[in-house]
Amino acid sequence: MTPPAPAAASARAGELDKKQVVAANRAIILVGNPNVGKSALFGALTGKYVTVSNYPGTTVEVTRGSATIEGRPWHVMDTPGTNNLVPMSEDEQVTRDILFTERGYAAVQVCDAKNLRRGLLLATQLAEAEIPFTLALNMADEAASRGIRVDVERLSRELGVDVVPTVAVQRQGLAALQQRIDAGGRASPFRPRYDAPLEAALAEITPLMPSGGIGQRALAVMALVGDESLRPHLAAHVSEADLARIDAIRRSVAARYPESLRFVVARQRLAAADRLHDAVVTRGGASGASGFARKLGNWSTHPVWGIPILALVLYAAYEFVGVLGAGTLVDFLETTVFEGYVVPWVTAAVRFLAPDGRVESFLVGPPGDDYLQHDGLLVGKYGVVSMGLSYGIAIVLPIVTTFFIAFSALEDSGYLPRLAVMLNKVFKRMGLNGKAVLPMVLGLGCDTMATMTARIMETRKERVIVTLLLALGVPCSAQMAVIFAMTAKLPFAATVWFGVTVVAVIFLVGWLAAKVLPGRGSDFLLELPPLRVPQAGNIAVKTLARIEWYLREALPLFVVGTLILYLLDRFGGLSLLERVAAPLVVGVLNLPKEAAAAFILGFLRRDYAAAGLFLLYEPFMDAGTLTRSMQIEVVVALVTITLFIPCIANFFMILKERGWKTGVAMTAFIVPFAFAVGAVVNQLMRWLY
């Protein structure tokens, strides 16, 4: 096999690999999707003495070790997990380059027997590349326990390679695998078939590809989809005239499809893997998806039928979170529990334990005064208990809890990945792809966590846009809790004003960012798990884990925020800040001057500010005396707060993930932009509402 030069990873790859692997005459290369047990199989084959080094020219780690099979020494190399031989990341490129650069090795593809579809997608590519390999069906025990049966004989027959079930962590199937490795793998005759225009293009390109190494058809597919990492190799082995011809063919075929050729080829290859999968895998009745679940799963990704399903999901979530959580539970916890019991109990306990007048007055205010009128540290208008804990536990926690229940149910049902597929075209308009739904939906839980998840986007441009949209317009669960609570008591038209404004801003900014920012977008492949009825136990455990996380992260900040407000109020800073912010808050946004404090502390946590606004208007909402002017104020305040930087943790995460220049630029854009949109909404509503 004459290998092409490694694409972009490194021209030095050959030197290092020859020294460490090929010198032993016999080498095994383990390849497979991420997290299928490659490392466990590597450990079972080699024992504990291994070396880990960066693949030359990259930061990707490759693990090497030695094994003895049938009395003869072998070198073993564990490659980074990959889903694709047309690389979409540095990891995938390193694996592809190793496979294309090495000579005379025995490749072992490790796949997860309970997730065989993904493994077969890679197997079809190894087959197309004419790489001899043996297929290890790992985690065979877990697949069997889930009622998944793989017809090993038929799979071996269809692929034309040896297939060995293994349980690497228990060394099961290891002897059989070693025998097959020693006997030498076979190149699979299996070839995925593409549609007529692609096959016609491949028929033209294939003869132009260099021969004697990797299968010409595989190289032709890579050239057809525009794999940039292959370009140096092609430039070295293909004449300029032929390269120009390939480009012309590629452009002509690309014009026939609305999606990129990379996506089209991947989809058709996946269909071939699906057919193979369905032929060899059977599922037990309990674990297989029912016919209706399969249909519902298909409808939920449909561009038309998916919309009513999404609307139904959103309506159910609103009723559960907005009405039950934000209405009933908040009323109960705030009025009955906190105002009725917690505040009087803390006050009584302090007066009993610290009868000294000054200490008592400092902590819970003078006897007889309404606590909202004095400045007690624990119980007062800015008291740690009466404000900080009341915000965190009585207002935000019940809504966050109901949101987490709804979110966990969606997560457990397998609906979220389907949402990503359905919204792919919408996100394309914003320079993104459907994969961006994941950080966006996750942002509804926590924007900081979601900013980290923006790493799943392939290009820098996509990561910057996702980070910007998260910071700008996606409310986190705690803030959404307060938004639900407030909009539930607003007239429907006012709620529509708020919703339409935020959604329009997200799309407008996303669309403009896609136009302005340099760089390119990408396509995505996402495996869809079966749609299933969510399990109550799973929902309970996931919700509890998230509530614990919320209490650990948010509650301390609520207390810190209250202390800052308390100190500002005590030393006159609050009134000073209110006066400074008045021209903007009162003059431009037409909000009461008390809202200034909410905006100032909004930077600490955006939901803290929203909770402050909630308390400001709650008496009028409860009494049903919210005037038209107040309704406009609520919408303007909610829009401005929603478009603010979410919280200080998110700000630091943006700096870390995107770099300080991008982070500062985003902040410099977001803060004035939030106020500008608030001002525009204020004017528009006063004319039109």
């Binding site: 997990g81 980290m452 996402l526 798990p529 996931k542 884990a545 614990e548 630091f652 870390k656």
Partner: protein, 75 residues
Amino acid sequence: MAALLPGIETCPLCGDRFDAAGQGCRPSCPMAKGCRVVCCPSCGYSFPQEAGLAGGLRRLLHRLKRDRDVRSDSP
């Protein structure tokens, strides 16, 4: 630094099983200390580990299921 519990996690989004070691929150986050959010290396999805009360509830549910299976298997 993140305070992750060692062990194998299953991603609730893509179903991948992975070792939690090294998959935690970034230390740059001011809330990273004690944070138990893990990031799936396969699809990038982030989720909190089931530790503390949630871990206890998961173990309890497993035990109840096992007991029920044993009872249904016994003659």
